[in-house]
């Protein structure tokens, strides 16, 4: 039976980046405009927050501890013990409006993250890959708002959404090199109410995309056909990750910042939800290998 519960009552300005760490059995998420990374256990205990100096788009845990973080200006390494940040690389220095946004590790432990137009109108965004040796490669461009990178179970398909263009793309992904090719439209949101935001792939290889400004989870089959719709208690849902000891809980973030003047009526806007009983399990996210 479906059960949707509030995991964290913090009203994040822009909750994003839900991530389950199976090793530490802890749930992580971010407030992009907090800006901060948050962590807790499944009951909200062992809570910890790492404040960040500029808007944060995404992060991944590192194999050697701490996190790799996509802040507004580029890639950084975060030491969880001291809270210290070390710059890896600025991504679009000198360009006026991009900021780094959503990212995820591939199945081999590389970190892919894309940027977005801060005003969400011009295609100034790019998709980057950070390799374990901390080298940055540019994979794609002409993106309004990067969101929802995630991989098929075999690691050979990269899914990636441009929210501003209301579509999710699929690319052929080479697990050996991290190169992409063959971009095609996987799912178009042009006739939908909302836009594709964060996403994850479940153990059956189906893609779960969060339809932001519609409050819905959409599950697509590997061919891009809509398989299932699950509504959520708020309109402003942003991203999804599977986790918990059995990887069968969907963690969903949301945002409290206003949109069209209606969020103030949703007491739960910005809270983070745990959804039980979907009957689906996820795949544990690899840690960043660098």
């Amino acid at each position: 039976m479906l059960r949707i519960e509030v995991l964290s009552e913090r009203k994040e300005k822009l909750g994003e980046g839900p991530l389950w760490d199976p090793e530490g059995e802890r749930f992580y998420w971010i407030d992009s405009y907090g800006p901060a990374i948050h962590r807790s256990d499944l009951k909200g205990g062992d809570a910890k927050t790492w404040p960040l100096p500029e808007p944060v788009g995404s992060f991944a845990l590192r194999r050697q501890g701490g996190a790799v973080v996509a802040l507004q200006s580029g890639f950084y390494l975060l030491d969880f013990d001291s809270g210290a940040l070390t710059l890896v690389a600025k991504t679009q220095e000198g360009e006026r409006t991009p900021r780094m946004n959503d990212g995820k590790t591939d199945r081999q432990g590389r970190f892919l993250a894309g940027s977005m137009d801060h005003e969400e109108s011009r295609p100034v965004g790019k998709l980057f890959r950070l390799d374990p040796d901390l080298r940055v490669s540019e994979l794609d461009d002409d993106i309004i708002c990067s969101n929802g990178p995630c991989f098929s179970p075999d690691g050979k398909t990269l899914y990636f959404a441009d929210s501003g263009k209301a579509r999710i793309y699929a690319y052929d992904y080479d697990p050996a090199t991290g190169e992409i090719a063959g971009r095609r439209v996987f799912a178009s949101f042009e006739t939908r109410q909302g836009f594709p935001d964060g996403a994850t792939v479940d153990a059956e290889g189906y893609l779960w995309s969060v339809e932001v400004y519609a409050g819905r989870l959409l599950r697509f089959d590997p061919e891009g056909a809509l398989d299932r719709v699950v509504g959520l208690p708020v309109f402003s849902t942003t991203s999804i990750a599977f986790g918990g000891p059995n990887l069968d809980i969907a963690f969903v973030t949301s945002m409290a910042r206003p949109h069209g003047g209606r969020y103030h009526l949703e007491r739960e806007a910005g809270m983070t939800f745990a959804i039980h009983g979907l009957g689906v399990t996820g795949i544990a996210e690899p840690r960043f290998a660098g």
Partner: protein, 292 residues
Amino acid sequence: MRIEVLIDLKTTLGEGPLWDVDQQRLYFIDSFDGRVFRCTAEGGEVRSWDLPAKVGSIALRKDGEGAICSLATGFHALDFKTGECSLITDPESDKPANRINDGKVDRRGRFVAGSMDTMEEGPNGALYRLDPDFSLHRLDSGIVVSNGPCWSPDDKTFYFADTWSGEIWAYDYDIETGAVANRRTFTTVDTSRGGAADGSTVDAEGFLWNAQVYDAKLVRYAPDGSLDRVIDMPVNKVTSVNFGGPDMDILFVTSMAKPPLPRFPGDGVQRGSVFALYDLGVRGVPEPRFGA
């Protein structure tokens, strides 16, 4: 806040959630299939009764084990023990395209229920009051689809919606006589995404909760009609709401698995479930039973 599927029966047109304080049981109906269901606050001990026609609403009776049912064929009395349904009165026997729809009991035990055009097009429906002596009184007319009758905690205001008018109305209510007067717009419903006002209830603070069918929303309105709170629901076709549970703080919500009109799309695997919402921080008011 927590939303759970309480019971997944895939009701074709789930409606009329009704928490009975005496029995500590939740009743609800499948309007299209003509069934009454009963279960505990946890969704257990499910029982059901088949009715001889489509049903719009039910009211439990003060005297004995029975209910008043607003069927497509008129107001009937249902005996829960035998399952038999006997006609009380049929005010619209001359209108075969109509059926009696949503209804609720006022705090003097009168049953107020309205009818609807089953094509949801013509203003052929009316609002009725069935008194404990089984006398029937017409309160209003010219209604397409009657929904969401309920009262303010002080009994002075009666709320009611004609679903496709895009409004919820308020009337002055005379609890001594059961008369209504001074119909006015209580609030305008946001119909921009295809939603419309369905079932309602009034909580202990006097705020009105309305299920906005086809728009996946529960909306709480302040007594002045202003928007207070919105909850997005797991399915689009939410139909009605009622507070219940041992502490009157669980909001039960019905939904439909299959819309009566083909222009509304499907709703996924949760379609037709009864949902329970916990930790809303709000309590309801017990529903009275029918009878003197």
